[in-house]
Symmetry: C2
Subunit: 332 residues, 2 copies
Amino acid sequence: MDRILLGHGSGGKMMNQLIRGYFVPEFGLKSLNDSAVLEEINHGKIAFTTDSYVVSPIFFPGGNIGELAVYGTVNDLSMVGAKPLYVSIGLILEEGFPLEDLKRILSSAANAAKKSGVKIVAGDTKVVDKGKADGIFINTSGVGIIEKGIDISPSRVMIGDKVILSGPIGNHGISIIAERNGISFNPPILSDTAPLNGLVSEMLKTTKDIHAMRDPTRGGLASALKEIAVDSGYCIFIEEEFITVPSGVRGACELLGFDPLYVANEGILVAIVKPDVAESLINTMRRHPLGKEARLIGYVQEAPAKLVLMKTAIGGTRIVEMLSGDQLPRIC
Amino acid sequence: MDRILLGHGSGGKMMNQLIRGYFVPEFGLKSLNDSAVLEEINHGKIAFTTDSYVVSPIFFPGGNIGELAVYGTVNDLSMVGAKPLYVSIGLILEEGFPLEDLKRILSSAANAAKKSGVKIVAGDTKVVDKGKADGIFINTSGVGIIEKGIDISPSRVMIGDKVILSGPIGNHGISIIAERNGISFNPPILSDTAPLNGLVSEMLKTTKDIHAMRDPTRGGLASALKEIAVDSGYCIFIEEEFITVPSGVRGACELLGFDPLYVANEGILVAIVKPDVAESLINTMRRHPLGKEARLIGYVQEAPAKLVLMKTAIGGTRIVEMLSGDQLPRIC
């Protein structure tokens, strides 16, 4: 038995063997009940999120779908200021999927959970017939706790707020597209997939005046900022020269005709903060491995409402729209 | 635009339009943040569960994948005695999937949430290229609260406990397999898909002495009981004559070579309860629309450990094993 069979998803003996053989040891699951019972949470608000991962290829420079799925959900919880605590993993497997790949992916997900300090507490496995999926799709959902006094939401964004970006853009998207097309770079461009909860925790120790926060995944930095602009009703003004685009990403984007502002990231965040805390926050971020290149990239102004404007490197000003169409399908 | 395109999953404008056009109105989502922030939960334990739905066909007699996904997660939470509160919906769509079908499915999921008294608070949409999925897969995860004093877990099962089944078996599985194979029955066999939280709530008002509970989905009643037997370490003894198999299901099983004990259900439960509360519990259940046919079907005995034994209708005793292999793939 070295491949997934339809019987692995049947709810019977084979599924049981798969769960007890792969899930229980990797994730240290204590029970196989229908629902996980979590420790008592008796303070703060609960944050809850879900994401499915259909990235292709499933193994890419710097990561794989397993860790990506865990970090993605950890990051979604972190973006509302929650401390991520519990994660579920739902697998949809294609008949014939190699068990060795499954083991590698689950192992990587387990390591990612450990690294992020979250527990994988619930799981589910479905198998579909050959040709009806693409190897493996993973859904992760997560539960976290938001301590009292933390309220991160675009409705809190104010005129004069500063925009901070934690690191360089474009690495994840370009690593995927390169792998997909058999292109290699020297030095290689690696996905930035990483858990942002540690960085956010340090940031929240410095200030509670973070008004909005996003990890710019699908749709890239442009789409994340545009969403905040629309939801807040204000204009976000950024300057291109302050946004770090690694030279490899820049070259790849030129070669492939992409705009790095729209390329997916999996290990950076953009925060809109009260102006007088921006400097100390950047200092805090720079002391964390994932925020070493944190920079102020812009500010919030009243008008034109709901737009993102960017002062370009050559001195003009351009309107930054949301990604339109399908620049990079199946990037996460 | 009447079909799903890859761009609908890109994180950009098209996805935004899809979410604001379909998700927000159906589910009344208040924010499109990365995570939902739930109301304060400051008493009891949290239950958390996940399930992916890959049922084929997506529309079947008595239901569709949308309501099935919501009820399935509501039921998983109910089986540990939790009151289901919040549900997330993660969609994986195949390029070319008809938007009309999507609308019908989301609408049905929204109705199911309303009927179950849960809020859909988080969502995610991914699109994969044509031929890399099968129309639509749905993941639902759920969060619920377990009131103090409720502790439902196979480890509480004791010798002498009674086994109660809430209704007839086999309807869901047979409705799917019939639809899949173009067989029709007269009267039609409809899926029993339904939310069990109302029934469970009534049961818990009658007694806290429910030791274990399962909704026998994939793998059927046999696999659910076998799991409890294994986890509790005792023997579950049931009598075939007390298990209601609708005549249509029985006929279809004979025709197709299935054993109704292994056929999936989506709207019944089996409970292992303290002997002295069994009768009053059955009376409570029979007053609820989903428990009208509740019956005592057996009891727990010490040995042979971890086995399910069934006294057959013709008087013999048979060992009931877990489902082996793939009797009915993609049943949920």
